[in-house]
Amino acid sequence: MFGWIWRGIRTGVLTTHYPDRPDSLAPAFRGRPTIDQARCHDGACDAAVAICPTQALQSTPQGLRLDLGRCIQCGLCAEVCPQAIRMTPDFELAVQQQCDLVLNVDQIPDEEQVVPVARQALAQRVKDLRRSVHIRHVDAGSDGAVEQEIYALTNPFYDIHRLGLFFTPAPRHADVLLVTGVMTRAMARPLRETYAAMTQPKLVVAAGTAACSGGIYRGSYAVLDGVAAVLPVDVFIPGTPPSPLSLIYGLLLGLGRVAQRVPSQPSEPRENDIVVNPMSEPEGIAHSSVAVGEEDRL
């Protein structure tokens, strides 16, 4: 016993201070592609679109379009068109609306350009959760790596207890439902039942590219193409798998403790926002948050 205590002390503090102080993954980390289409020549970008295994990259009359919810960070596009496409270690990719995952390339934020948009409806819903928050994880068809990353959140490097975040096995005590995986057909019912067993207010976080869209399994006979097909999702965290820092960012985004960096798109408030919490969500607020997002972007 003493041996362990001594070694524990000798190891010292490894824990990150993220998000209070910025942290980063190694520069080699493939977080997301950035695209500067003006630098592309010889139509290499068309080849990049053709090689993208999940159709995350598409060409539209307005230029290239990147769907972060489908991108599996393989880096093939950047290999095919290195002049215009580059992989960055950016990990703060989580968003609050599925449509925000789809970027026209001229919208992709620079490192400095931060767009503070927190959907007010969501903020209202989670304002009671700020102190200590309990998370229930459900796997809806992952490849197993994202579970290891979630498990890593409790290791000494990330230690999310310092942020007041805890895991709980009991749905009734849970504030956040953290769902991983492609959303298999077989898990639709068990997932709905878990959600129903949770009390209000509750947040649903889809963790991983697979949970955002089905990823490379999109379209398969056994897959429903992402968690949003079954539950109202409040936060989407892209990543194959999302790194522990991406998960922390996404969870805090859902709790209104950090701002969304990916630009927000105008959208109608979802029906579900109103159904879930009719008292705390006057329609006007939802609309005004959309207006703010719009102005910031323009």
Partner: protein, 506 residues
């Protein structure tokens, strides 16, 4: 109408067998001690081709039978070869070929509401189909007796686990019987392969089991490389060894951390979890991904780390090895920990052999099998190391085997860093890809042998890709080893097997 798969590579021997005498042939091989490696079914147009692959030392011996599509029946092999049980359930469910006389043909992998007469691996079923729900209850093996009750664990489990379901029959403290219902994570992997071209299919192989990225992508690539007679360059061979052993290291540290967690050894848990994290961070330097994605391609590897990164890796791992050996030595002296493992979830040698166990689970039950040595690939035939085995078959022995493998992985990585030559990273793919060629590919993942069988179709597409992970083989053994244990040891038992669900459910 496509013809039978052609034998095209050394180390694989196909033998045609009339379906009526298949069972007899299989029985002979089983009683001579050959290990069942895999069963594959393939829609060949007007028939279904059945392959039964046995491990005959350096050679894979394959019995090849044809079942007419018009009447898809054959005599079940499970009665003479228990290890065939799950393969035959899979064949019945996904391909609609009925093994007659099989003792248990409940659905294994498809969703509970899937219609019984729709077979997704038939060519007539298009991947994009999503048939309407039908009601089909799942039953569990009934265990009756006074005071016996059943507890379902899962599919939504308590804690950060992959989804699966165990139905535990107990009379209080002791586990009498466990029935496992996998399949909740079934994603249609094998059908999805048929949609992709060869090169992007490597990315799918990486996502079959995300904690064995290297093993799966390597087994897939090697199957195609063997079918095409591609000889991969030496640098790629050594980089495959390097990354495969990094994968083994982080997975083994993860298993130890989980076991410490089960025993409430929180400091030890934190230490081993931190070791694992250090390796994942090194993986980013090597591959751009914490789980080593984007390393393999058909013909070799995609990238080569710079000399600076490699020398830093050598230094970091040397340091990590020293610290981890100190913690492991202390762990083995921590009685409150090892007392929980000794005698827990015992897997006797005979049972392991009968059910064709693989990986550390097999080796800890005294079976000396490791495909890095048995059928060497990459650069393993140039490596100097020994397979770790142990006779006891309990959770403690599985831990001991993993601990020895950690030491050996550090050694193998050092050898790879030493030997890594200059030169090209990949052999080019040939211009035309002949239709109908097929081959096996394998790799020893941290959990045991990963086996692929790939057959090319027209225009360089994949006609059939059969994936068999070590978890698919070892889960049925887990359910047998846990019987007779107390319920509170469930976590120790499960983590000492160290299996995944993603690789099993496909």
């Amino acid at each position: 109408m496509s013809s039978l798969s052609r034998q095209s590579v050394t180390g694989e021997h196909y033998q045609g067998v009339p379906v009526a005498s298949l069972r007899l042939d299989v029985e002979k091989r089983a009683s001579s001690g050959q290990r069942l490696m895999m069963m594959v079914g393939r829609d060949a147009g007007d028939s279904i081709e059945l392959l039964v692959a046995f491990d005959a030392g350096r050679q894979i011996e394959v019995l090849q039978s044809v079942v007419p599509m018009a009447s898809p029946h054959y005599p079940a092999l499970t009665p003479v070869l228990p290890a065939a049980a799950w393969y035959e359930r899979e064949l019945a469910e996904l391909l609609g070929v009925q093994p007659e006389g099989h003792p248990d043909l409940r659905p294994l992998l498809l969703p509970p509401d899937w219609p019984r007469d729709v077979f997704p691996l038939r060519k007539s079923f298009s991947q994009r189909q999503r048939p309407a729900a039908s009601s089909r209850p799942r039953s569990t093996v009934p265990v009756t007796g006074p005071g016996v009750f059943t507890i379902p664990y899962g599919p939504v489990r308590s804690g950060i686990f992959e989804t699966t379901q165990f139905v535990v029959a107990t009379a209080g403290e002791d586990v009498l019987h466990v029935d496992m219902q996998p399949g909740y994570k079934h994603r249609g992997v094998e059908k999805q392969f048929e949609l992709l071209e060869l090169e992007p299919a490597v990315l799918l192989a990486e996502e079959v089991s995300g904690t064995a990225t290297i093993a799966h992508s390597m087994a897939f690539c090697q199957a195609v490389e063997r079918a095409l007679h591609l000889s991969i360059p030496p640098a790629a061979r050594w980089l495959r060894v390097l990354t495969a052993e990094l994968e083994r290291l982080y997975n083994h540290f993860d298993v130890i951390a989980r076991l410490c967690d089960d025993a409430s050894q929180s400091v030890a848990q934190a230490q081993f979890a931190a070791f694992k994290e250090e390796i994942l961070r090194n993986n980013v330097q090597i591959s751009g991904s914490r789980f080593l994605r984007g390393v393999n391609q058909i013909g070799g590897v995609c990238r080569r780390p710079t000399p600076g990164i490699l020398s830093r890796l050598r230094h970091d791992l040397g340091d990590l090895q020293r610290r981890s050996e100190d913690r492991i030595a202390l762990l083995l002296r921590t009685n409150s920990f090892i007392d929980r493992l000794i005698g827990t979830s015992l897997l006797p040698n005979q049972l392991a052999a009968q059910f064709a166990a693989v990986g550390p689970v097999a080796r800890a039950s005294g079976l000396d099998r490791d495909c890095r040595v048995d059928r060497p690939y990459a650069a393993y035939d140039h490596c100097d190391w020994e397979v770790a085995t142990g006779p006891a078959g309990d959770a403690m022995e599985r831990l001991r085997v993993r601990i020895q493998e950690i030491t050996q992985s550090f050694g193998l990585i050092a050898q790879a860093l030493e030997a890594l030559p200059a030169g090209p990273l990949a052999a080019p793919l040939p211009q035309s890809l002949p239709e109908g060629i097929a081959a096996f590919g394998w790799a020893e993942s941290p959990r045991g042998e990963v086996l692929y069988w790939v057959r090319l179709g027209t225009e360089g597409r994949i006609d059939r890709c059969k994936v068999r992970s070590p978890s698919f083989v070892n889960w049925p053994l887990f359910t047998r080893a846990i019987a007779g244990n107390v319920l509170t040891d469930f976590g120790f038992a499960e983590h000492s097997f160290g299996l995944t669900q993603a690789g099993c459910d496909l």
